[in-house]
């Protein structure tokens, strides 16, 4: 008794615009759209819109039968008994058909060609359930009325649990579930999806992401796209996001914006972050200074190995890399460098100045990119410190900054995003 029985399967396109007759054989109207409720269970149809401009719905319970010719009601039609649309209901045709959605399974933006519905019975109740959306060519041909041409090609469905429409409905319950699903996506995929959206969709979509996800996704994008995104945001939101991004990336983005706009954003950013970014922005585009980030780990030379590890725990979340630790004095003068490995294998009481190496490969902020790449390549480094004439450390350049330089500009797509994904591995996966 408790089992689910499938009574029939339909496509929205097969039902749309079909006439509706009541029990007496009078023509009531045409099926224009269906109202759907998507609560904790699967999305199901609650009513049928039968006349243009009318918000009244024929309750789904009135439907007696349907076939290729149209729908037949099991009662006599009485307009006063129709029900209005509720707040938690949406018209599926208007909301989904021909619209773009995020396919969470394939992690990309797709267009809905048709909607697959199932007529099921469960515990004496009958439901019309939304099963999947059709994003394949066959759905397209079905809409044109020539499906028979492609009858050998399989349908390309996205199950309703994997769809994320771009236009939000009002239900708050739905939002938390969707947020949960979005969290499954890799930031690089989110970046790709955002890049294919229009700017209004972007604004909406960014709001459904939590701020860390938005920042991760933005960091994954190419500079052009980053600039466009920031340019389209209002200054307050832009400053919030740029604060959290690695300062070198933020500086690159701000450097591409009109002066007026970048000044406004910098003014709104927290003063510490803004200062870091300003410092980075002063370097010419092709110098080491423009490549470096200020988020390195600097430790005072008088710490012991054990204290240093504790300090590392505190500093690590913000740092670009933790494999090299830079030992500095009170004036930020670079005294030495040690690797994470050296720190961990040292006995806890050893002071840093006894473990560190004092022979350091350094880069000047005015060196050109080629020289930076040469140095990092020659010494096989994961990162190199950038120091000024007084031997004060200004920042570091990591090997992935250099890799980005060496990558040819054009090929993006799959190869590039898999490279981006790889880039995360040495950093220990992307942060949540």
């Amino acid at each position: 008794m408790n089992e689910l029985r499938v009574l029939g399967e339909f496509y929205f396109s097969q039902l749309a615009h079909k006439p509706i007759w009541d029990a007496k054989g009078r023509r009531v109207g045409r099926l224009l759209d269906m109202a759907m409720r998507w609560d904790s269970i699967s999305p199901h149809v609650t009513g049928i819109q039968y006349a243009k401009g009318l918000h009244a719905l024929i309750p789904i319970g009135w439907i007696g039968s349907w076939n290729a010719d149209g729908l037949r009601l099991n009662t006599t039609f009485d307009p006063s008994l129709t029900c209005p649309m509720h707040e938690d209901e949406t018209l599926i045709g208007k909301w989904l058909l021909d619209k773009q959605i995020i396919d969470l399974e394939g992690s990309k933006l797709v267009r809905v060609n048709d909607i697959a519905l199932s007529w099921v019975s469960h515990e004496d109740h009958q439901y019309l359930v939304l099963v999947a959306v059709d994003i394949g060519v066959r759905g397209l041909f079905r809409r044109l009325g020539v499906e028979f041409l492609l009858s050998r090609i399989a349908n390309n469905f996205v199950g309703c649990q994997y769809i994320k429409p771009l236009e939000n409905r009002t239900s708050a319950l739905q939002l938390t579930r969707e947020k949960e699903q979005l969290r499954q996506l890799h930031p690089a995929d989110i970046a790709d999806i955002i890049e294919t959206m229009d700017y209004r969709q972007r604004a909406n979509f960014l709001e459904t992401l939590d701020s860390q996800q938005a920042i991760d996704a933005l960091t994954e994008m190419e500079l052009d796209a980053q600039v466009e995104m920031i340019n389209q945001m209002d200054e307050v939101r832009a400053s919030d996001i740029l604060e959290e991004m690695p300062p070198d990336e933020a500086a690159d983005i701000l450097g591409e914006l009109p002066v007026e706009k970048s000044e406004e954003i910098l003014r709104l950013m927290e003063s510490d972050d803004a200062e870091d970014v300003r410092e980075l922005m002063q370097y010419q585009e092709d110098t080491a200074g423009s490549l470096m980030t200020t988020e390195y780990i600097g430790l005072p030379f008088w710490l012991t190995a054990e204290q240093a590890i504790d300090e590392l725990r505190r500093l690590a979340p913000d740092a670009e890399t933790i494999y090299y630790l830079y030992v500095v004095d009170e004036q930020e003068t670079l005294e030495g460098v040690l690797s994470l490995r050296q720190l961990i294998i040292a006995s806890p009481e050893t002071p840093l100045k006894d473990i560190m190496q004092t022979k350091i490969v350094k880069i000047s902020p005015y060196d050109d990119h080629e020289k930076v790449a040469d140095i990092i390549h020659k010494y096989g480094l994961l990162a190199a410190p950038v120091v000024n004439d007084q031997n004060h450390i200004l920042g570091i350049i990591t090997v992935d900054d250099v890799l980005e330089l060496l990558m040819p500009e054009r090929p993006r797509g799959e190869i590039f995003s898999s490279l981006i994904a790889l880039r995360h591995l040495p950093k220990g996966g992307y942060s949540e």
């Binding site: 058909l97 994003i135 700017y199 969709q201 009109p258 007026e260 054009r410």
Partner: protein, 418 residues
């Protein structure tokens, strides 16, 4: 904002309108304007000026829709009118653009023939080069080089002044509405409108506004971009007609091939006129041949939800690359047909463009007047009246052309009655 900042902002959003304007004066454009000047003297300038004003309106609508919605036209047609209408609109666009691509290749073939290179050599070679360059190189840079080549068309302006046309007569005829019901005249009139306002130009300007990331709040700069672009389209077209009318029409020299159009440049460049013409024609044809197949493939794939973008691989976006390749191959193949007059390909395709324009215009105006899509940037009443009037005039002209071609006496009789 001070003046400097505003200037900088303007240059940042500038581009879509101006590129479209120059690509508008492509092989077909030159051929049509020159033919209009050579055959009808200054009398078609009136229709040309009117269609330039209408071009400004049409481009403004497309650019505004692009900036406000952040979407391409085919995308909006799909979301608002469903699969069947989209299929119809895309079929129209495909036919029009295939024709126009063929006319661009005719332009390329003509300019190479001036240098003594056979079309059987130049067309396949250039088709391949275009196909390859678009996929392998930076399109933005190519666009700038080709735009520079197009600047040679300003030589028509110089030439038009040097021939000392009877200016008072030119201006009087420019503002005097002229009309005739003969098929030849109607053909020319629709051709002039069809080459000035093109279906692809509307799709292209909208998607490049979107690509540039221009939003509603920067839109007022884009409006200037579009208006300046349109001004140049009209400005150059005006002088092509004046230059050809003053040299060819006055001396009763008919245009048989596109090379004859170069004669109008003689006053400026003397014996080098044909070379100057060939460079300009090559630049304009190449620019449009680059833009057309690509933007068509984009529009169609966007509408039907196929993967698209030049950064994708052939395997990821087979429909996109397939369509793009087919358009170039077919466009080039049409031109290679033996004994085909290249000049007539250029002229005919402009008429086809004119005939196919109304359906696209109807969609554009319908979308731009929907408040739910355009919000506060929706078309004003006056704008709507002008756009609809224009659309219906164009449909009327098309029907008239059809009737006058099928029953030439009928129209003659009607005119006799009036």
């Amino acid at each position: 904002m001070n003046r400097k900042v505003r200037f900088a902002l303007f240059f940042a959003v500038m581009g879509p309108g101006i590129v479209t304007a120059f690509a508008d004066n492509d092989a077909g454009g030159i051929a049509t304007y020159a033919s209009a000047g050579a055959k009808y003297g200054y009398s078609l300038i009136f229709i040309m000026l009117i269609s330039t004003v209408l071009l400004a309106i049409a481009q403004e609508i497309s650019a505004r829709t692009g900036a406000v919605t952040g979407r391409g036209l085919s995308d909006l047609i799909r979301e608002n009118y469903g699969v069947k209408w989209t299929f119809f609109a895309m079929s129209v666009l495909l036919i029009a653009n295939l024709g126009t691509t063929a006319s661009e290749f005719s332009g390329i073939a003509t300019s190479f023939e001036i240098f003594g290179v056979s079309k059987y050599l130049s067309v396949p070679a250039m088709a391949f080069i275009i196909w390859w360059l678009v996929i392998k190189t930076d399109y933005g840079k190519m666009e700038k080089i080709l735009l520079l080549l197009c600047l040679t068309f300003f030589s028509y302006v110089v030439s038009g002044i040097m021939v000392h046309p009877p200016w008072p007569q030119v201006f009087v005829e420019s503002v005097t509405p002229t009309f005739s019901g003969t098929p030849a005249f109607l053909l020319m009139a629709i051709g002039v409108i069809g080459t000035t306002i093109t279906p692809w130009g509307q799709f292209y300007v909208q998607s490049s506004v979107v690509d540039k990331g221009i939003t509603a709040k920067d839109y007022h700069y884009t409006r200037w971009d579009v208006l300046i672009g349109t001004f140049f389209t009209g400005f150059i077209a005006f002088f092509i007609i004046v230059a050809t009318a003053a040299t060819l029409f006055v001396n009763k020299i008919p245009i048989e091939t596109a090379k004859d159009v170069a004669l109008a440049l003689k006053p400026l460049a003397g014996q080098y006129a044909t070379f100057l013409f060939a460079f300009g024609l090559l630049g304009a044809s190449m620019l449009a041949a680059f833009v057309l197949p690509l933007s068509t493939a984009y529009a169609v794939c966007e509408a039907f939800g196929f993967e698209h973008g030049i950064s994708k691989s052939h395997k990821e976006a087979p429909v996109f690359f397939g369509l793009y390749t087919v358009l170039i191959v077919l466009g080039a193949a049409i031109v290679l047909w033996p004994k085909l007059s290249l000049y007539h390909v250029m002229l005919t395709t402009q008429v086809v463009n004119g005939v196919l324009l109304p359906p696209i215009l109807i969609f554009m105006v319908l979308i731009a007047s929907k408040k739910s899509i355009m919000g506060e940037y929706v078309n004003t009443k006056l704008f709507n009246v002008i756009s609809w009037a224009f659309t219906f005039i164009l449909i009327f002209l098309t029907l008239l052309l059809l009737v006058s071609t099928l029953f030439p006496e009928f129209i003659g009789n009607v005119f006799a009655l009036l």
